[in-house]
Amino acid sequence: MSVSLIIIIVIAVIFVLMYNSLVGKKNQVENIFASVDTVLKKRYNLIPNLVASVQEYMKHEKSILEDITKLRSKANKPNVSDEEKIELDKKVSSALRSIMIAVENYPNLKANENVMQLQRSLNEIEEQISAARRAYNQAVTDYNNAIEMFPTNFMANFMHYNRKKVFEIVESERKNVSVKDLFEK
């Protein structure tokens, strides 16, 4: 009698622990996504200012500027899902990169105090976004591992937890400094 009772208690405790660890992992993903969202918004807020500062010079790049404005208004709509936010971020990042490359072709723009300040702010925000993305990816990886690995996978199935998508890290972000570069100075 008492042995079976102990077994039932142990099994119950294991279930509670598994359940709590899965919920903990899901909440960690959501918490970190909220921070990702905050820094993404910070960047979206810089876009109108950037477009206003460069558009009178950049006649040839009009389409990129229009695109990025459209992307921004899309992102600012309510009820955008997490997956859509990740997709939008990818597009905005690449559009911003092409604008910054284009700026290099206009000496007047490059020397403009306002543009320089914006560039610095963008660099800073990019660093923060990159950190937030990496933290999010780690949280998602932990979560995905838990819902696919034995024995938590049964529990996850029962709780209807599904795999989540990670941010694709752009190659330029992953690039490390070369060792040669390090010792040159």
């Binding site: 660093e127 923060q128 990159s130 950190a131 933290a135 780690q138 972000e173 690039k175 060792v179 390090l182």
Partner: protein, 314 residues
């Protein structure tokens, strides 16, 4: 900041007459130490029969008297060596640096670094260097932090928390939380599975932060109060630089980012910048150890590129 080869040249060219003079004093000190050592050995032989049943007492007396005599006999020589060799070397590395031989980094900074979880009961140190390299504030010194343990009979013994170089520098990014980077001892001794579990259940530390650089993860373990901030500080470039730095050092290294500063503790396990007594000061290897260590610790600003103000930190 001067290069390593410039410093080596300086050591041999400008300091050579001083070194020759000091080396004569060193031989004198060495002779006296050996003489007192011999006297102590004779004393031991004479009183051996008294202590036959209490040999640990004899050993204790020997260590106490020996340490006292060694310190007493070498103190003038050590002090002169620091004034005439270490101080000019530091001036030569960068003229903005100041050197004080008898003080150390404050206990407040040591505790504030959050690098070690136990609070020291005794904190010694010397060879304090401070100043600015490329506009970046830096201070460092030798540190020996110890903890006292009392057994049931009230006898106390001391254990070392940390002994080595302790470096503090301004960091080029703003942050509010704590990020601590420690040598990865659990994962390397217990393997990924058990070690990883131990790391994530370390109650004396903040949350475990898993980094996305496998080589960095093998060498270090990161704890932080904020998952995102830890990655904001430790971007891929800094992680790579820390790996390179660790490889060159060949000693355990503890790093933390607290109060907008970077703290680095290098576990040498001995007091640095002390003059050689039993080897000649003119020996190339002895000379290079002083020059290299000094160059390495002051060079940390350039090595980790703390002087690059890429971000909006004023």
């Amino acid at each position: 900041m001067k290069s390593l080869s410039q410093l080596t040249d300086f050591y041999y060219d400008n300091l050579h007459p001083i070194l020759e003079d000091l080396d004569k004093k060193r031989q004198n000190v060495k002779f006296r130490i050996l003489l007192f050592g011999a006297i102590l050995a004779f004393f031991d032989l004479a009183v051996f029969s008294f202590f036959k049943n209490n040999l640990e007492w004899l050993l204790f007396i020997n260590i106490a008297v020996g340490t006292f005599l060694y310190k007493f006999l070498t103190s003038d020589y050590t002090s002169e060596f620091k004034d005439k060799v270490i101080a000019p070397l530091i001036q030569e590395i960068d003229e903005n640096l100041r050197y004080t031989k008898n003080i150390h980094v404050s206990e407040f900074e040591f505790i504030n670094s959050k690098l070690f979880t136990s609070i020291p009961d005794k904190l010694d140190g010397n060879d304090y260097i401070s100043g600015k390299i490329d506009e970046v504030g830096i201070e460092l010194s030798d540190i020996h932090a110890q903890k006292e343990h009392k057994d049931s009979k009230g006898r106390s013994s001391w254990s070392t928390i940390f002994q080595g170089l302790f470096i503090i520098s301004e960091f080029n990014k703003n942050f509010n939380g704590r990020t601590i980077v420690l040598p990865d001892t659990a994962q390397s001794s217990f393997g990924d599975l058990v070690g990883g579990w131990l790391q994530s259940h370390n109650i004396s530390r903040d949350e475990l932060v898993k980094m996305d650089n496998p080589e960095f993860e093998r060498e270090f373990v990161v704890y932080g109060s904020d998952q995102i901030e830890a990655r904001y500080i430790l971007n891929h470039t800094l992680m790579q630089r820390l790996i390179e730095f660790k490889k060159r050092l060949k000693h355990k290294i503890y790093i933390s980012f607290v109060s907008s500063k970077i703290y680095i503790a290098i576990d040498y396990g001995k007091d640095l910048f002390e003059p050689a007594v039993f080897k000649t000061l003119l020996d190339y290897k002895v000379a290079m150890e002083y020059v290299k260590t000094l160059h390495l610790c002051v060079g940390i600003v350039e090595e980790l590129k703390l002087n690059q103000k890429l971000w909006s930190k004023a």
